[in-house]
């Protein structure tokens, strides 16, 4: 029991222990450092796998899914980083602890601590190992995030004192998120705190007009840095909205819907249009991130179960597809040391395997059915459509534009003749590189064909949020999808039972045909 109750700590500090271990290795011994770092990161992944099965409906952790794209990124940099290898891996592992800590914290202050701790290693990753403009991009990333997060800290403090000053709470001082989520803060306070949180999270997502740090940071970061940024760090912002803004400040969240939706729609269209015009491969992917994350935000602020579920799924998808796209750019960059799209062309003839992987990830990013992107975008569009048809029209235009810039990129780089002689002898993916992509490919297809295990695990989390922020769904939930009873909880500790129990309702709370026949 002691082991179980500290299990999260074990996960949390595995990377940190690895970082300390690295400190002891001689810095000349680079291959040992690489092996240790990769093994530690992999162990960190392995120890978190059981959570997937232990997940109980009250359990608030959906961090484990977010982590999946992270693992390959360490391997991806096997050869790219040749200088100061030791520090590089130490920073990566410290960053990993920070990320895990932030997603695991149920204490607001602790969350903030980990959130800030992540800044420093990320700053170094961009600043030391990045490309040409790295110092500028690193400090821009650092200061942008910092300004948002310190304002967020004040919001946290405001909640803390408001909670303390309510006589009903008997003067308790608490940063406990679970308590906040059950407490109704005054509407006026909610309004201000929402704005404070908005600054912190929107800069991180990033939402238009706070997105300007992202293309710079992404472009100049080393590949692993870009992947971590895209796959995990950006999700901190959306996670913040889901975990804190919506359930703790439900009234203000409803009030701010018009603003959030407007900014999201601008972000979708603007991000896509700018991506269409990019000449730099990595920058194009970075702007596609802006567009995709705006889509995630739009789905979330539809404030209905489908929209929020779609928004979470789309975050995972974005982690997989954009993470993979950054890895792919990284691979050609490693070989050619340029990211200029016009330098490439006809790569499908020289690097067929690479082109195939790139194609799958492009399709995943566009949202082709049978791949993961489709599930997310479909759910988001469905949720947004329920909320407003006009919004849905704009969101759909984002999907079209997304197909435009990704296919245009694919056409320019992969098809046609090999015109640049430098591209004639490019090596295709090595086994190690392919092994990096394999889990991402598997996940993309799995989530595209059989997303039920993922959706199922999100159900109760989404339900908790919805009951706070959109109480009108409570009646529907009570009808056909009651909150889990202790028996259900007990049953769900058996992993097999969870897979077998079917959803009696669809995500909008309408009974499924199959549910009618159930006792």
């Amino acid at each position: 029991m002691l082991f179980m109750s500290h299990y999260l700590s074990i996960i949390l500090f595995t990377p940190l222990a690895g970082a300390l271990l690295l400190l002891l290795i001689d810095k000349q011994n680079e291959s040992a450092i690489r092996w240790v770092a990769n093994i530690v990161a992999f162990i960190g992944f392995l120890v978190s796998v059981p959570l997937w099965f232990w997940f109980t409906p009250q359990g608030p952790d959906f961090q484990f899914v977010e982590r999946a794209p992270w693992i390959p990124s360490v391997g991806a940099e096997w050869d790219a980083i040749t200088e100061r290898v030791k520090e590089y891996y130490i920073f990566l592992l410290v960053l990993q602890t920070g990320m895990l800590g932030a997603f695991m914290s149920l204490d607001f202050l602790l969350f903030f601590l980990f959130w800030e701790v992540m800044l420093v290693p990320m700053y170094f990753l961009i600043g030391i190992w990045g490309s040409a403009n790295r110092l500028y991009s690193a400090i821009k990333f650092f200061l942008y995030t910092l300004v948002g997060s310190v304002i967020m800290l004040l919001g946290i403090l405001a909640l803390y004192f408001a909670y303390h000053n309510d006589p009903a709470n008997l003067g308790a001082y608490s940063f406990d998120i679970t308590r906040y989520q059950k407490y109704a803060f005054a509407a006026n306070l909610q309004w201000w705190v929402f704005l404070a949180f908005f600054l912190g999270f929107a800069i991180k997502v990033p939402m238009f007009p706070f997105h300007t740090w992202l293309p710079d940071a992404h472009t100049d970061a080393p590949t692993a840095g870009s992947v971590i940024l895209a796959a995990v760090l950006l999700k901190m912002g959306t996670y913040g909205f889901l975990r804190f803004s919506l359930p703790i400040l439900p009234e203000a969240s409803r009030q701010f819907v018009p603003m959030m939706v407007l900014l999201s729609i601008i972000g979708i269209v603007y991000g896509a249009l700018v991506a269409l015009a990019q000449k730099d491969w990595k920058r194009l992917v970075a702007y596609s991130s802006v567009s995709h994350m705006a889509m995630v935000m739009l789905g979330m602020f539809a404030l209905n179960p489908v929209g929020i579920t779609g928004s979470i799924i789309q975050q995972l998808n974005h982690g997989i597809s954009t993470g993979a796209l950054f890895l792919l750019v990284g691979i050609v960059y490693e070989r050619r040391h340029t990211r200029d799209i016009s330098e490439y062309g006809g790569l499908s003839k020289v690097m067929p395997v690479y082109a195939a992987v790139f194609l799958i990830m492009t399709m995943s990013s566009i949202g082709l059915p049978t791949l993961n992107g489709f599930i997310g975008e479909f759910l988001i569009l469905q949720g947004v459509f329920v909320a407003s048809k006009v919004w849905a029209a704009f969101a759909a235009s984002g999907v079209v534009l997304g197909a435009a810039y990704m296919l245009y990129l694919y056409q320019r780089t992969m098809f046609g003749k090999v015109e640049n002689p430098k591209n004639e002898r490019l090596l295709d993916l090595s086994h190690r590189e392919f092994a990096t992509f394999a889990p991402l490919l598997i996940l993309a297809v799995w989530m595209g064909i059989y997303p039920a295990p993922f959706l199922h695990r999100l159900e109760t989390s989404v339900q908790h949020i919805i009951l706070r922020v959109s109480p009108q769904y409570a009646a529907k939930y009570a009808e056909c999808n009651p909150l889990p009873t202790p028996e259900v909880v007990a049953a769900s500790s058996n992993p097999a039972a969870k897979f077998l129990s079917a959803m009696p309702c669809d995500a909008n709370g309408n009974p499924l045909p199959a549910a009618a026949g159930r006792p």
Binding site: F112, L113, E116, V117, L119, V120, Y123, F124, G127, I128, L135, I139, F142, L143, L146, V147, V150, I151, L153, L154, L157, A158, Y160, F161
Partner: protein
Amino acid sequence: MPPGISASDFYNILPELVLTSGALVVLIVDVLLPKERRGALAWVTLLAIGATLASLVPFRSTHVEVAQGLLAVDQFALFFKVVFLVAAAITVLMSVRYLEIEGASPGEYYFLILCATLGMMIMAGGIDLITIFIGLETMAVSFYILAGFIKPSHRSNEAAVKYFLLGAFSLGILLYGMSLMYGLSGTTNLRVMAAAFAGQETDARLVLAVILVVAGVGFKIAAVPFHMWAPDVYEGAPTPITAFLSVGSKAASFAMLIRIFLEGLPSMGHDWRLLFEALAIITMTVGNIAALTQSNVKRMLAYSSIAHAGYVLIGIVAGTSRGITATLVYLFIYAFMQLGAFAVIVGLRRADVAGEELKDFGGLHARNPFAAFAMLLFMLSLGGIPPTAGFMGKFWLFSAAIDAHYNWLAVIGVLNSAVSLYYYVRIVVFMYVKKEALGSEPATSPTLAVVLGVAVAATLVLGVYPRLLFELADASARTLGAAGVTTSLR
């Protein structure tokens, strides 16, 4: 025995007596030792500081007034005395190598450091305007001399003259304000004064007195617009003295500020709080913005230290027991990170290199990883990034502001701390990102290593486990005044 002074009074000022004797012993030993062995004076000084720290132990929970209200021996004073003594000890350790390189004679130097410390201790304990002023003068005069201690250096001389002239001027203003306070209340004892002013109509003359005292104290804590001296003096003074000045003198001045305003003028709380609020805002903002463009690290840290006075003022403005606790905690934490940062600069000082310019930090991480890591930690701590102590200190300050409904003050504070990271990170960039080793090999001396080790440990431990410090500071803040801060103020 003079009237009004009893034998128990002498017992209660035992730590001050020990320190005074220690200072005198340093002077005597200086004469007795042959010239080439005077480096050993550092150990005599440390012994004196250690003995004083030990003599504080019996006064852990004492709460008495000495000599009919000239000095208070309470936990508030005790807290500050520990800060001063620790800062003095670290300064002495830092100075050993510095004095060797500069070729300055250590005898008077250590004596003056002890004198300055004695002045600070009296300032923290003083609950009478006269005592406070005597303490202030003792400290200030010692620092005037110390700032100009490197006689062949023009910058050092310039610093001393500037500091002396402006310091004397500001003391005059402070004294004028104090005389008005005395004239209006008929007493110099702060606690009697508080009772005399309680419930009175606000008097225009009293407002004038408050403004003058704020200006005088503002000079001492280097608050904008009374900060002009700080960058020049900090840059010119010997580096260990700069460190001691920015930590000890600042902390002592804050102790004096709290005594005068919270103990003596609680009835004028509305007025001086408004003044300090304005001061805090411009001090933080001007300090940070001016620091952005500095290329001399000592000068940059001078502006940063100005900005930090602004942060600390937030706690005073809040004025609740949480606010005062935050002030004490912050000054304690600040001592370690600031002294540590200056210790790194001292380490870079070579016979031929000043070691103060940003470029001297170039590639430090390759030349001396530990010094670079220590500096990284101090910079992050000064900027308020967890898990360092600086974050905890700022966190408590801003939480005090929010608690007391000074929301905008907190917003300006956090924005400022974000701005400040730009220049703190600049040093980090030079140390870690610039590859070329521009500066020379930093000399490692055992005493400096001890200083860095202590400062790093304190910065990390207080950042991860600050609870004990918070409790001590809280207990100290509660001993202020007869009725306690919370009841007498908000």
